[in-house]
Symmetry: C2
Subunit: 233 residues, 2 copies
Amino acid sequence: ELADAIGEFADANRAVEALFKDKHIMITAGPTREEIDPVRYISNHSSGKMGFAIAAVAQQLGAKVTLIAGPVSLPTPPNVIRKDINSAQDMLNAVHETIATQDIFIACAAVADYKVNKISAQKLKKQSQNITLTLSQNPDILSSVAFLEKPPFTVGFAAETQHVESYARAKLEKKKLNMIAANDVSNSTLGFNSDRNALIVLTSSSTQHLAPNNKSLLAMELMKLVHKEYSRS
Amino acid sequence: ELADAIGEFADANRAVEALFKDKHIMITAGPTREEIDPVRYISNHSSGKMGFAIAAVAQQLGAKVTLIAGPVSLPTPPNVIRKDINSAQDMLNAVHETIATQDIFIACAAVADYKVNKISAQKLKKQSQNITLTLSQNPDILSSVAFLEKPPFTVGFAAETQHVESYARAKLEKKKLNMIAANDVSNSTLGFNSDRNALIVLTSSSTQHLAPNNKSLLAMELMKLVHKEYSRS
């Protein structure tokens, strides 16, 4: 019986290891930085930990992983192709270089919605008491993939501080995503900068709560859900 | 003769070690972050490496060092009191808590000149194609110290991308500093994020160039100049 159990465990493990065998998965991670001048920039609190954990897990599950990373100080997971970028525009370019060959796209990066209209070539000097910075919308990388004629299976992320599930469902529908993973970043013990996270994973027909966990285990839970939905699609 | 040489070396070393014996030196380091909403912020490329190197050297030279640090990922130098802050306003508060007991103040931090007028309590949603961010001037920490009735010996930093020396001399005079150390951050092999730097050190009556060097050795050169000027003041 013990031998049977071990055999079953080994089989299950091999099955899990092969979940994404030979699949190409692209993952974006971390923040983007939008330059104001050579010294200053606008960014956000994304640490890249969730995206890097997903990349590591996807690779362990047999996938060929491309990780497009914003400025973070994290080591590259083993056997993952990593491309480092700064701005949202850079990320868009890097994504579309190889998106045509991807089976699955997981947009975990916290991409800046806006960029600075006129980047100053020189450091801006302190001037008047008040100044205004004019910002214009960045390209929407997630939509640019989901709206391709033959899009990969596309998973978005939503980091919200309120109305988490309803905002995420609206994003899922508007951007024609296969799946979206939402988290509440108003809780500082989870999400940005934390090693732990909790997710609400939505598809057009389902809602699943993944309980608080360290980001590696959570990434494994998420990738099992991705596999289930991807197999059906 | 060898014994003499060793003796001389040891004497010189003891003399250097005691340069700032029992002096209180406060050093600011790193960037500040100015929040836009719970997720986004404005910051700059300062890594904190120069300020942390100065703190380590000052402590080695016998000083009691207080290091006020913006958000950086650097270990605290041995036997240095460290206070972590985020915004320029936080830094101002932390500086003035103990500035009255300081002999020397070295403002190495890249403090944001402007903060966001209205910090949003919730993550801002993507809206129109263009938005404007209204910024207002932050308190000037360096001036707030230099203009004290009994100011410590005050050293400023100037990170510039053009007119480095003239901008720095103007800042020295306008802010009534004892000394200013200027560097050209348009050279990406030196300055921000680099382990190396070069400085132009100005007083009201002198200009000295410290050649490119790693930040620890450069910090030692700078602190010798600070000691020379401080002893005269």
